[in-house]
């Protein structure tokens, strides 16, 4: 009986990458969950309308600062995984960073989309919590094996970005740069970024409600 990638059967080897997924999901989604809703609630969004700023520019302006904040969180996570918990990093750092930046964008996109769609801080906070935290814990394959879930539930997990990021992190940290795992998973995340971006732009058109 041999356990590849984790000879000593250290549970923190799979727990730490899974926790990074949780932390990044929450940081990403909750940082942006309130920003658009707050502007709508306070009525400052209307003032933005009368400026020549285009809605894409508003969205970018709302994304970039939180993206940088998310990156700081990400670096803290990677450093503590490596030096505090001594999880081996068998893949390369650029691949890890690229996958994680993509995921931060997905998480920020979820927050922005919810925030622009519901335009209410109380509901936005509830929805983004619901959409991210427990699903990332229970349905991402971090704790429970995806293959053993009933088909209907497995179908739901395909819609969850956390699922792809868990596969990416577990592989990049423990197995190395296995391109046949990394490429499809990153492609899914990239597709989600595009969808979320389009969706958010559609609900933030400059118009009065």
């Amino acid at each position: 009986m041999r356990l590849w990638f984790n000879d000593a059967n250290e549970s923190r080897y799979f727990l730490v990458p899974g926790l990074i997924v949780l932390v990044m999901t929450l940081i990403g989604a909750l940082l942006t969950a309130m920003v658009m809703a707050r502007e709508w609630e306070r009525g400052t969004f209307e003032s933005l309308f009368v400026t020549p700023v285009r809605s894409e520019e508003i969205l970018l302006g709302k994304t970039i600062p939180y993206f940088l904040l998310g990156l700081i969180g990400l670096l803290l996570c990677i450093v503590s995984a490596k030096y505090l918990f001594h999880v081996p990093l068998r893949g390369t750092l650029p691949v890890l960073l690229a996958a994680s930046m993509l995921y931060v964008l997905v998480a920020l996109g979820i927050g922005l989309l919810i925030s622009s769609a519901v335009k209410n801080q109380l509901i936005a906070s509830q929805l983004s919590m619901l959409a991210t935290f427990m699903p990332a814990l229970m349905l991402s394959g971090f704790l429970f094996d995806l293959r053993s879930m009933p088909t209907a539930i497995r179908v739901i997990t395909f819609a969850l970005p956390a699922r792809y990021y868990v596969a990416l992190l577990q592989t990049i940290f423990l197995a190395g740069n296995v391109w046949s795992v990394i490429v499809p998973n990153m492609a899914m995340l990239a597709g989600m970024v595009a969808l979320l971006g389009l969706g958010t732009r559609a609900v933030t058109r400059k118009q009065l409600v």
Partner: protein, 372 residues
């Protein structure tokens, strides 16, 4: 006294209206708890039902085929490939196509016939070492059954010593029996703590909190008026999950519903207390949300929902002493599985009472003393 009570009721009513009148906010509070308990109830299992595995059979003998037939017939293992060489193992595991590879060496049958021990190598994908360990324990069970049959068929003496495990209270060790009672507290905690943390912050942000302070309300009454609506919502959510557990999953319920609700009420008092205390300190909703998150995340990860508290490092075990969810999950599981009564649950109930008393009184003190 009566006037004070009327004021509390009025404020509670106003708060409930504020949250429940908007259909979107009403739906976001009541429906998700039920949907989530259904989905997670199915998702949450440490048992494996589909294990894709590959075989590297270098013996090709009757014995090796018998062993593999045992795996294939188990209903759990699904053979995805017959490998030719040891070099193939890496590709199948690396690419996550097989969770494990069973390798049978060349003279497997010969060694068995001589009555020697023969090795079966199992190579498992340790990226999720929990799943891998469970899957290999299944292999061990199949190999054990094969061993016994082989010895019987070939006139060899059976194993002298066999151990058998029995788990009390949950004889089939169903993960679901453990997770779903735990979800009652967890799902209620996440949304209620968030809701309460936002409640005062929202009034601050909209400037209506100062108006509330100049009314005849005493700080204690404001606190009660904010706490009660959140507790109603929490109880409603917990009831939703409880009904799913009873009616849909039909988890055996050994204890009494009254005991469970007494525990839940104490738990919600503590959770709402923490939320209100946060809310009383924070100035904006965004601050309230992020600070609530800072509590929700460790509370749910260090609660024993998915990993036992007794396995955590000692420092973290001390932290769990102030985690209301840890007590709530313990209460729910013990009421469900052991049928524990109130007297057995006192070690869980009094810490909850202390947390509630400290946080609620601190929150009401803050209401009176922090004017922005």
């Amino acid at each position: 006294m009566l006037e004070s009570l009327l004021r509390i009721i009025a404020l509670t009513r106003k708060e409930l209206l504020a949250v429940l009148k908007d259909p979107r906010s009403r739906n976001s509070l009541l429906i998700p708890a039920i949907v989530q308990s259904l989905v997670f109830g199915y998702a949450a299992t440490y048992d494996l039902y589909h294990v894709p595995y590959a075989v590297l059979d270098q013996d090709h003998s009757v014995a090796s085929r018998q062993l593999l037939a045992g795996l294939d017939g188990s209903g759990v293992f699904e053979r995805v490939a017959d490998l030719r060489s040891a070099a193939d193992i890496r590709t199948w595991i690396d690419r996550r196509r097989a969770l494990l590879v069973v390798q049978i060496n060349q003279d497997f049958e010969k060694q068995l016939q001589r009555g020697q021990s023969a090795d079966v190598q199992v190579i498992a994908d340790g990226r999720n070492s929990n799943t891998a360990a469970t899957a290999s324990s299944y292999v061990t069970a199949v190999v054990g059954a094969f061993n016994q049959r082989w010895r019987q068929d070939h006139g060899q003496p059976p194993d002298v010593l066999t151990s058998s495990d029995r788990a009390w209270y949950n004889p089939n060790l169903e993960t679901r029996w453990n997770i779903i009672p735990g979800l009652i507290g967890t799902l209620a905690l996440i949304q209620t703590l968030m809701l309460t943390a936002m409640s005062v912050a929202r009034e601050r942000e909209q400037g209506t909190f100062d108006q509330l302070l100049v009314t005849p309300f005493k700080p204690f009454e404001i606190m009660a008026g904010k706490a009660l609506p959140s507790m109603f919502v929490g109880i409603a959510q917990a009831t939703g999950v409880f009904l799913v557990a009873q009616l849909w999953f039909q988890i055996p319920f050994a204890g009494s519903v009254v005991t469970l609700y007494v525990g839940l009420l104490m738990f919600l008092l503590a959770a709402v207390g923490i939320g209100l205390l946060l809310s009383s300190v924070m100035a904006t909703m965004q601050q309230a949300m992020l600070s609530a998150l800072l509590f929700i995340m460790p509370f749910s990860l260090l609660s024993g929902l998915t990993t036992p508290v007794s396995n955590m490092p000692t420092v973290l075990q001390y932290f769990t002493a102030i985690n209301p969810l840890m007590y709530a999950i313990d209460i729910a599981r013990r009421v469900y599985l052991e049928g524990a009564g109130l007297s057995l649950l006192t070690p869980d109930l009094w810490p909850l009472a202390i947390i509630a008393a400290v946080t609620l009184s601190a929150a009401s003190w803050m209401f009176g003393h922090r004017v922005t």
